[in-house]
Symmetry: C2
Subunit: 197 residues, 2 copies
């Protein structure tokens, strides 16, 4: 049953109850969703330096180029240079890259509502650029289309992404995990999704 692969917070059953009650089960994205169709005309921006951005004429990457005919693990997080993202969320994806590759994953992608230059600097600081592909969603259009945004103004961040992960094959979402609280890494970490591939 496809919906069994939707993980929100720590408890699937409770999340199904939440779905009925309508609490936090509002993401447009779900298992079975075609992520390219769910975010029509949306592109992401490959992390790069400003000079590389200039050289590329500020090019963007359509979602179909990222997902078509590929097996992708993608995880989203509230922001570059925030604590949980830097310390707990990204490193295990980096450290387990060989396991992802051994399972046939073509790319492991990290995305956030940041510009691609900030994403690039952060990726370099984390020494994670070789293992993980980093993309910016500078205007939030990707996360808004998937209804995976949340207001983190209380943490001085503004509108940002939920913390989430997905296993996507040829654009189709095979597994989706969204944290109850963006400060958690209970279901969106590398270990969980490695078990879902």
């Amino acid at each position: 049953m496809a919906s069994a692969m939707v993980n929100r917070g720590g408890c699937r059953i409770m999340k199904s109850v939440s779905a009925v009650l309508g609490t936090r089960f509002y993401a447009k994205i779900a298992t079975g969703t075609d992520i390219v169709s769910a975010a029509p005309n949306v592109s992401l921006q490959k992390a790069r330096t400003w000079d590389e951005g200039l050289d590329s004429k500020f090019s963007t990457t359509p979602l179909k180029d990222i997902f078509k005919d590929k097996k992708v693990v993608i995880f989203g997080l509230p922001g570059a240079y925030t604590g949980v993202c830097s310390n707990k969320h990204v490193p295990p994806y980096k450290e387990n890259i060989d396991k992802f590759k051994a399972k046939g994953i073509d790319s492991v992608i990290c995305v956030a509502i940041n510009d691609p230059y900030t994403m690039n600097a952060w990726a370099e600081k984390l020494q994670a650029k070789e293992a993980i592909e980093f993309y910016g969603d500078f205007d939030g259009s990707f996360h808004k289309s998937l209804e995976l945004v949340t207001d983190l103004s209380g943490a001085l961040l503004g509108t940002r992404s939920e913390r989430w992960s997905a296993y996507v094959v040829d654009g189709k979402v095979k597994a989706l995990n969204v944290e109850e609280a963006p400060s958690d890494v209970k279901v969106s970490g590398a270990d969980t999704i490695l078990g879902q591939i």
Copy 2:
């Protein structure tokens, strides 16, 4: 004449003509403006690490705490980790900090529509934190209040600040310089404003 100290692009006279014609002379802020009153209830966010943000309970700094009874040089720019900002705009402010202090300036402030964690990481990379105070304007409310925002989506940045500088005494704007194009540093650099103090 106070308006003579408003610098937009390279030519004051042409900018006065622009003012009459209404081209790009739309900023609410001008010489004589009380910057605190012009942005009521607006706070900035001192650049800091995420852990320092947590420890501070995500505190913000009201404008009056920044400007009241102080001589301040403030400059705004489109974004952390962008080329002109990193290479041309910030360094001369840092290098001339002793000249600013010798002229009685209490603080030289750099602000951008970025979160304070990104601003902090960038300031550290530029090794400029000791000389310059960096602040984030994460939701753009400061720059929107002053009508100093511009759409830089073409450069994958979204709504960002114009490139500008101001000399502010006890909240009152004594000199204001706004670039015609955010890619320019013709009037908003350290040299210009040093001559205006």
